[in-house]
């Protein structure tokens, strides 16, 4: 069984371009195993990884944590040579809690987590300033969840997602010493997270589907700075305007297997299929000023990803974890831009939990994700070059069993 899984991993086709914006850090235990957690799902972060799994938790639980994520992008410009992005910090966080109802047939839970996001910042005068100077997307999902346990082995669960997105974009417009365009918007969306879990003595099977979430902002604020006075008088550019933007965060289908050969060892393999095709474009429409719209076709492709992880219980006080992951690249040739650089992802992670009491543990996780170099030669903006990207993070968390 295991061999076959390994084989299918090796046979996955390797694509060479791309970069999505899934944060992939929704729980400290999962982080320590590079996100390979759907087949284990043994803490409250299962609300994200597979809601059905919370039915089999011995106790109601609470988990909370955050990560410090540092994305770094370098761009090889045909005119400027290597250009490094500025250092940015993202702080994805999560809080989950579950509650078993009286008959233990029904388990409820709630989760707040930040599954998607990106943060890229370049020097204001950099060579790509007319495409982007800064792009920051943060999403926060709120997910009340309910799970039904059919018997000792099978459960099913569903969570409803209310999503908020915060978008901040900054770019220059080529007038005089550059006009600065600032965009800020908040978007709302909704979706669901549904799963089924099969739990046996040493083996778990997990099937999970997280729906796409369409984020939509119809009244973002666009601010223009440093406009020549004649442009104001002729209404070429406004000083401020509202903008519209809507885009879809993709859906993900995940199949996971957890294998627990001994008391001390947990292993997990997850395979996901993510419908990045949903992310067709990232357009900004500025009301009454069509000529200032930015139309950015992305033409993403769906991806397979695979995550492998394991945990070893060193002692009653310490658990150690390692993991690795791989994801195909969602973005397609000729639609690659410096706000969403990336490539084929290879990640490695390590983590640990210190149990200070029987029911309280502190988690730490470390993750490095390296995106293969990718080249762009023909996008609509004629912004050519190569990208290289690395994301590294450290995460801290606490878990508590009721």
């Amino acid at each position: 069984m295991k061999n076959r899984v390994l084989l299918s991993f090796l046979l996955l086709p390797f694509f060479t371009l791309g970069g999505g914006f899934e944060i992939n850090r929704q729980g400290q235990k999962a982080n320590g195993m590079a996100g390979a957690f759907a087949g284990v799902a043994n803490d409250a972060s299962a609300i994200y990884y597979n809601p059905a799994a919370i039915a089999f938790h011995e106790h109601a639980m609470m988990n909370a944590g955050y990560d410090l994520v540092f994305p770094r992008v370098s761009f090889l410009s045909p005119s400027e040579g290597n250009v490094d992005s500025k250092t940015t910090l993202m702080v994805p966080f999560h809080v989950y809690a579950t509650h078993h109802f009286a008959n233990r047939k029904v388990t409820g839970g709630i989760g707040i987590y930040t599954p998607y996001g990106t943060s890229t910042k370049w020097e204001d005068k950099w060579t790509g300033r007319y495409l982007t100077q800064q792009t920051k997307l943060t999403t926060i999902f709120l997910q009340p969840t309910i799970t039904y346990r059919l018997d000792d082995n099978y459960s099913a669960g569903i969570g409803l997602i209310g999503a908020t997105g915060f978008l901040k974009m900054r770019r220059a417009l080529p007038v005089n010493d550059d006009v600065e365009l600032d965009l800020k918007g908040t978007g709302l969306g909704y979706g669901f997270n549904i799963g089924a879990f099969a739990h046996f003595e040493k083996l778990n099977f997990s099937i999970n589907y997280r729906s796409a979430v369409k984020l939509k902002t119809s009244k973002g604020d666009a601010t223009f700075n440093n406009i020549p006075s004649s442009f104001i008088d002729q209404q070429t550019y406004p000083e401020s305007a509202s903008f519209k933007s809507s885009f879809k965060l993709p859906s993900t289908f995940t199949f996971g297997i957890g294998y627990l050969p001994t008391e001390r060892i947990i292993t997990d393999i997850d395979i996901s299929y993510t419908t990045w095709k949903d992310f067709t474009d990232w357009n900004i429409e500025i009301s009454d000023y069509d000529q200032l719209n930015s139309i950015n076709n992305r033409n993403f492709s769906n991806t397979f990803s695979i995550r492998l992880g394991g945990q070893y219980r060193w002692s009653d006080k310490m658990d150690y974890r390692i993991g690795a992951n791989y994801e195909q690249s969602p973005s397609s040739d000729n639609h690659l831009y410096p706000d969403l650089a990336g490539g084929v992802k290879l990640g490695a992670a390590a983590g640990a939990t210190r149990h200070v009491r029987e029911n309280i543990g502190f988690d730490i996780s470390l993750m490095i994700e390296d995106f293969s170099e990718q080249k762009e030669n023909a996008n609509e903006k004629n912004f050519n070059g190569a990208y290289s990207k690395t994301v590294y993070s450290i995460g801290l968390g606490v878990n508590y069993e009721f």
Partner: protein, 448 residues
């Protein structure tokens, strides 16, 4: 934090010192060419003329100067230009203003600065210069010993001011641009190791700017042009045999000739009514766009309606924009004088000349195994737009981003686009890997 965690964290930080994303510096090479002594010959485009003047910033961002800044990465030597003083320069430099300069609504208008006449003076023999671009120079001026004898007229002072010999000493003959090109030297030798030649625009442009009236400026005859190119290229290839030759944009690529449409007589209903009262019944004006009326020299100095395809020179913009209907140019009462119009006959002459010149430039370059850059088609592409790093450059006057305020010469961003096209062709011909420049880092039009 337990000591264990601290150790883990330290390990992580060390591991990440190694996760370097930066690319190595690309390897730029000169390929089969040698750029240690680069010399540029040509007219106003080579000199860096912009905004109707030769001024310091324009010279510093001339396309040969931009090229030289890239050649430096692959063994290029210094690049000396005969710079003017840091003031208004030579020629009446245009400045863009905004407001109600005339009786129409607010809009953009040009004012011109007075030139700094001290720039006409001979700057001394500081040769050799690498940029020998001379505004107004025609093909046959490059080897003309009478070109630049005094500082009396533009036809002489543009070269006179920096010629190695102004002719005052002896027989009245001056050095020549071509001769000066051969004087460039460094410790390793004399004469250009690489040259660019972009000459010939003035061979037809003077005629076009005079509306084809030929008052003292005619199109260079084919045979004179052909001989001049042969002379120049024979001399320039005698040093290293390597260089690049550009052909010429046609007149339809220059916004000075294309910005005012033939149907540019814009009328209100009241203005149309008033014109309809005083003109013959066969002529009918409508609200909005109407064809101009022009004075045509042939046959018999007639006043006639302009034909689609005939061009109106931008220099009359104020006469059609600012005046009330009784004085406005372009009506049957006040037809546009023919020296501001290029009619079909004149355009045919220009087009034929451009075709002949360009055929000669291309065949001469190819027969001498030189790089050849097709500026004619590059400028035509620019009409529909050339996108560089997110900016769409077009030939549109003022808003296109590539041309300067005079509507004929590029601005610095336009010259940078041109330099990149030269680099592309040089790289292809000489197997070099010279990087392009970031066009967007050069100054564009300054809007008030």
């Amino acid at each position: 934090m337990s000591s264990e965690k601290i150790r883990l964290f330290l390990f992580f930080m060390i591991a990440c010192a190694g996760c370097k994303t930066a690319f190595d510096d690309p390897n730029y090479s000169a390929g089969e060419a040698n750029f240690s002594r680069y010399v540029a010959l040509g007219g106003s485009f080579t000199a860096g003329f912009t905004d109707n003047a030769l001024y310091l910033e324009g010279q510093q961002n001339s396309f040969p100067s931009i090229l030289a800044s890239r050649f430096e990465l692959v063994g290029g030597g210094g690049f000396e230009q005969p710079l003017v003083n840091s003031g208004n320069g030579l020629g009446n430099k245009y400045i863009l203003n905004y407001g109600s300069a005339c009786n129409s609504a607010s809009g953009y208008y040009l004012t011109s600065l007075t030139e700094d006449p001290s720039n006409r003076n001979w700057i001394g023999n500081k040769a050799p210069y690498n940029n020998l671009g001379v505004p107004i120079a025609k093909s046959f001026h490059l080897n003309d010993q009478y070109f630049g004898r005094s500082n009396a007229t533009p036809y002489s002072y543009y070269y006179n001011r920096f010629a190695t010999d102004t002719g005052f000493g002896g027989a009245g003959l001056t050095s020549t641009i071509l001769g000066d090109a051969g004087k460039v030297s460094d410790g390793k030798g004399i004469g250009p190791t690489f040259f660019s030649l972009w000459i010939g625009l003035n061979d037809y442009l003077g005629y076009a700017l005079a509306g084809g009236e030929g008052e003292g400026d005619s199109i260079t005859p084919d045979n004179i042009f052909n001989t001049a190119i042969d002379t120049v290229l024979t001399s320039l290839t005698s040093y290293s045999g390597k260089g690049i030759v550009a052909n010429l944009p046609d007149i339809y690529s220059l916004p000075f000739f294309t910005t005012i449409p033939y149907s540019g007589l814009n009328l209100t209903q009241a203005e149309a009514d008033s014109l309809n009262i005083v003109t013959a019944d066969s002529i009918h004006f409508v609200e909005g766009a109407n064809s101009f009326w022009i004075k045509s020299p042939l046959p018999g100095d007639l006043t006639r309606k302009i034909q689609p395809g005939e061009l109106v020179l931008y220099s009359i913009i104020d006469s059609i924009r600012c005046r009330n209907i009784n004085e406005r140019w372009g009506t049957p009462q006040n037809p546009i004088p023919s020296k501001y119009i290029l009619d079909i006959n004149e355009l045919n002459k220009i087009t034929n000349a451009v075709n002949v010149f360009n055929a000669k430039l291309q065949s001469s370059a190819l027969s001498r195994s030189l790089a050849f850059v097709d500026m004619n088609s590059y400028f035509r592409t620019l009409q529909s737009g050339i996108i560089f790093n997110g900016v769409n450059y077009t030939s549109q006057y003022l808003t296109g981003g590539a041309f300067s305020l005079d509507g004929i010469h590029p601005n610095s961003r336009g010259y940078a686009l041109i330099a990149n096209e030269f680099i592309r062709v040089i790289n292809a011909k000489y197997k070099s890997t010279i990087p392009e420049v970031d066009v967007n880092n050069y100054p564009g039009i300054r809007f008030p």
